[in-house]
């Protein structure tokens, strides 16, 4: 690998290696059931772990059980500690909210923890672990490794379809390559994962692949066309926009209106300078639209993050840019400049499922 390639890969490697320290406590009701006491034995009261942002909660449940729960039960005199808890019983809660375990860990953090965009967010991330009564109305039941792998591969297929117009690349993967890909994900191995990722997404070197500079928006329009064999038809992108109401009770504020409101100088009705209301996962509207590499009607002007947002939320007035001031876009814990070319983000800022997951909050 020459120095240019290494330099190009550097942001990607940093993204892949991003970790979040978590601090776990066992739910009091579960402690009482398992140990007849809400207070755990001294060394087991809190469990700390570093978990990968690009990973998924079901892949860490096994370690948590092995290193914390089973020893805890054994110490308390349980004869069959490993039988009392199934991995698929384990679920996580943050400030009263069950975490959607099929979302990447870093995405959950960026959505739910306040002030990530200010660089002042809670660390370690304090979570409650439950081993009983998974709320099946809120989160998908039976979180386990196999189901997680199936759901992950469904996202990979979808990303393949968006980029290439077919799922051929994924479906043509040799079984051993597919196993290595999943193994790389589960064990958080950069080498194993990217060896197969490069088959699914052959690198198209885009000439102007310098990191976006926040001042000059003209860097996007001056970029040369991508060279290399594979130019994707579109980029897989998901926006998670914080709205006022809740999605499932029918009383949600129209997210399109929220997007439009974000575009006015008044800002999102959620915003309140200085006050950081706890984010509710059900209040995030998820929008998924394939984003073309170039602006509409152009073959040289690269589409920006702002363009992608407008496409997703149906903002047709091209001069309407107030959301750029009123909202921040967060991914991998970083505030992403609105003028970033989608092409650059597509090469360096994707999650393991090949999607860009972008959280939009008001500032």
């Amino acid at each position: 690998m020459d120095y240019r390639e290494a330099e190009q890969r550097a942001p990607l490697k940093r993204v892949w290696k991003g970790m979040i320290p978590i601090e776990l406590q066992l739910a009091a009701s579960d402690a009482i059931e398992l140990l007849a006491s809400a207070v755990l034995p001294e060394p087991f009261q809190t469990f700390y772990m570093l978990i990968p942002r690009v990973g998924y909660l079901p892949f860490i449940s096994g370690k948590i059980k092995e290193r914390w729960l089973d020893p805890m039960l054994a110490l308390s005199g349980s004869r069959t500690p490993s039988d009392q808890i199934e991995e698929s019983d384990i679920w996580f809660e943050y400030k009263g909210q069950a975490l959607k375990w099929h979302y990447p860990i870093g995405l959950l953090y960026d959505m739910l923890v306040s002030d990530v965009h200010r660089g002042d967010a809670e660390l370690p991330w304090s979570l409650t672990l439950h081993v009983r009564k998974l709320p099946t109305a809120k989160i998908i039941a039976q979180p386990n490794g196999q189901l997680m792998r199936d759901m992950f591969m469904a996202m990979i297929k979808e990303a393949d379809f968006i980029r290439n117009g077919s799922t051929k690349r994924v479906m043509d993967l040799a079984k051993s390559d597919q196993m290595q890909f999943l193994d790389g994900l589960e064990t958080h191995s950069y080498e194993k994962y990217f060896a197969i990722h490069s088959i699914l997404v052959p690198t198209a070197t885009i000439a102007d692949s310098r990191a976006p500079v926040s001042s000059a928006s003209s860097t996007a329009s001056n970029a040369q066309k991508p060279r290399g064999a594979m130019q994707p038809k579109a980029i897989p992108v998901r926006f998670y926009m914080q709205t006022a109401g809740s999605l499932d009770d029918g009383s949600a504020k129209d997210a399109q209106a929220a997007g439009a409101a974000a575009s006015t100088s008044g800002g999102n009705s959620n915003s309140n300078a200085g006050a950081t209301k706890q984010a509710d996962i059900m209040q995030f509207h998820v929008s998924q639209v394939p984003i073309p590499l170039y602006r509409e009607g152009s073959t040289s002007e690269l589409a920006t993050l702002a363009d992608a947002f407008k496409l997703c939320y149906g903002i047709t007035d091209q001069t309407n840019d107030a959301f750029v001031t009123n909202c921040a876009c967060i991914s991998h814990g970083v505030c992403v400049p609105w003028e970033s070319p989608i092409s650059w983000l597509a090469e360096h800022f994707f999650y393991a499922d090949c999607f860009l997951h972008l959280v939009v909050v008001s500032v």
């Binding site: 109305a137 039941a141 469904a154 949600a252 059900m282 394939p290």
Partner: protein, 211 residues
């Protein structure tokens, strides 16, 4: 229309036309029809009906004096019962696949949501070949589980990229499949699509008279 692909706007039109044409026939057959608008202003279609569960009825108890009249090999009759279990079918547009995607969930009378794909198939997918084809689909089968794109809560869904695989399990004479595409416009798109996809999860459409 770039059949079989739709734009979001075309999908909305297809939903409206479908509801107009099929609502009364569906409601006559016990299926509730609702055209929903999500918080983002997007349209989707909801069909809801009872799930008739088979319940075994125990054989009548014989008086011991008449024991020679017992027929131990006699069949146990089954009742088809409406125990309040409901199935919902949500047809939601996908910007990725540019076709509708079918989301399904079963809710019992006690409010329990059934999201086990196998259990739902047991309840509603009658065709054995269909069930076999669904299980054979890689990465967990044709019925996956995910969050409903508009409601944000868990639902089963039919993997859209494998709709074609399922269609092959539904016997169609060779050479006739292409003809279906050519004659389907916005009036009949959703009916055609639902007839093909819905068969996998027990959804059948009543025939309507043509004027």
């Amino acid at each position: 229309m770039d059949y079989p692909y739709l734009t979001c706007r075309e999908f909305k039109e297809c939903v409206e036309r479908f509801v107009k044409r099929y609502r009364s026939a569906l409601e006559d057959s016990g299926t509730r029809v609702e055209q929903q608008t999500s918080s983002t202003g997007r349209q989707y279609l909801v069909l809801q009906r009872a799930v008739y569960t088979k319940r075994a009825v125990s054989a009548p108890v014989h008086n011991e004096e008449n024991i020679e009249d017992d027929d131990p090999a006699g069949p146990v009759p089954e009742h088809i019962a409406d125990d309040g279990t409901r199935i919902e079918y949500h047809t939601v547009y996908s910007a990725t696949w540019r076709v509708p995607v079918l989301y399904v969930r079963v809710v019992t009378s006690s409010g329990e949501v059934v999201l086990d794909g196998e259990r739902v198939c047991d309840l509603v997918t009658e065709d054995v070949e269909m069930r076999r084809a669904m299980t054979a689909v890689p990465f967990g089968g044709a019925l996956g589980v995910t969050d409903h794109p508009e409601l944000g809560v868990p639902f089963l869904y039919l993997h859209p990229c494998h709709t074609a695989d399922l269609l092959r399990a539904v016997v169609a004479p060779p050479g006739q499949q292409e003809e279906i595409g050519q004659s389907v416009g916005p009036d009949e798109y959703l009916a055609a699509w639902l007839s093909l996809s819905g068969a996998a999860v027990g959804l059948t459409l009543p025939s309507i008279g043509y004027c």
